[in-house]
């Protein structure tokens, strides 16, 4: 999937991936796609919930073993 930026939150536990995601998104422009990597199981449902709450669009979500990849289009 095409992306503009990657945020690597592997090795971070809840709520750090979300906190870092929120921080990162502030630096990005509308329409850009952010790839988020996380391996905390909580992230699987936390990231979609975060998108739902903040209005950014989840355009892709993949699981490879213990790794989760999320693609978020900035609103």
């Amino acid at each position: 999937m095409e992306k503009d930026v990657t945020l690597d939150a592997r090795g971070l536990m809840c709520p750090m991936p979300i906190v870092q995601l929120a921080k990162k998104v502030k630096e990005l422009k509308s329409g850009q796609v952010l790839e988020l990597l996380a391996d905390d199981v909580g992230a699987r449902d936390d990231v979609p919930a975060w998108c739902n709450r903040t209005g950014h669009a989840m355009v892709g979500q993949e699981e490879e073993g213990k790794l989760f990849r999320f693609y978020i289009r900035i609103k």
């Binding site: 709520p15 906190v19 709450r53």
Partner: protein, 134 residues
């Protein structure tokens, strides 16, 4: 208006210290407006330089817990507080508890506002989520 999230913290142990910050920092990251009111023994969590301990006899194992958290990359209490401030989480100290426990405004971490119950309830009445941690 942003969704509002209010918490009351009435105990000062390690777990009661971390939980509101984990919830509060997450909520603030989700774009929510967060208010945390510290009362009774929770008040000491707002004192400068505090290192919260596990409750009761477990307090002797606090160091083990802190080390384990470091290993797991979980931020410690001080780092969580710093993060909360950056995210705009609002911290309030209960005015009555301050008198009761002999805590002065100068003992409290910067940015703490002293509030009475009415003002907090006024905020909580228009809140989407309220939690009591104690």
């Amino acid at each position: 208006m942003a969704d509002r999230f209010c918490m009351v913290v009435s105990e000062g142990s390690f777990d009661k210290a971390m939980m509101p910050l984990i919830m509060g920092n997450t909520a603030a990251s989700m774009g929510m407006e967060v208010h945390v009111f510290y009362t009774f023994f929770g008040l000491k969590l707002l004192k400068k330089g505090i290192r919260p301990k596990l409750p009761g006899m477990w307090r002797f194992f606090t160091g083990m817990m802190v080390k384990k958290m470091m290993k797991l990359n979980v931020p410690n209490y001080e780092e969580m507080l710093k993060q909360a401030k950056e995210l705009g989480v609002n911290f309030y100290a209960c005015s009555t508890s301050m008198s009761l426990l002999g805590v002065k405004q100068s003992d409290l971490i910067e940015g703490t506002k002293v509030l009475g119950a009415s003002k907090f309830l006024d905020l909580a009445a228009d809140s989407k989520v309220t939690l009591f941690i104690g």
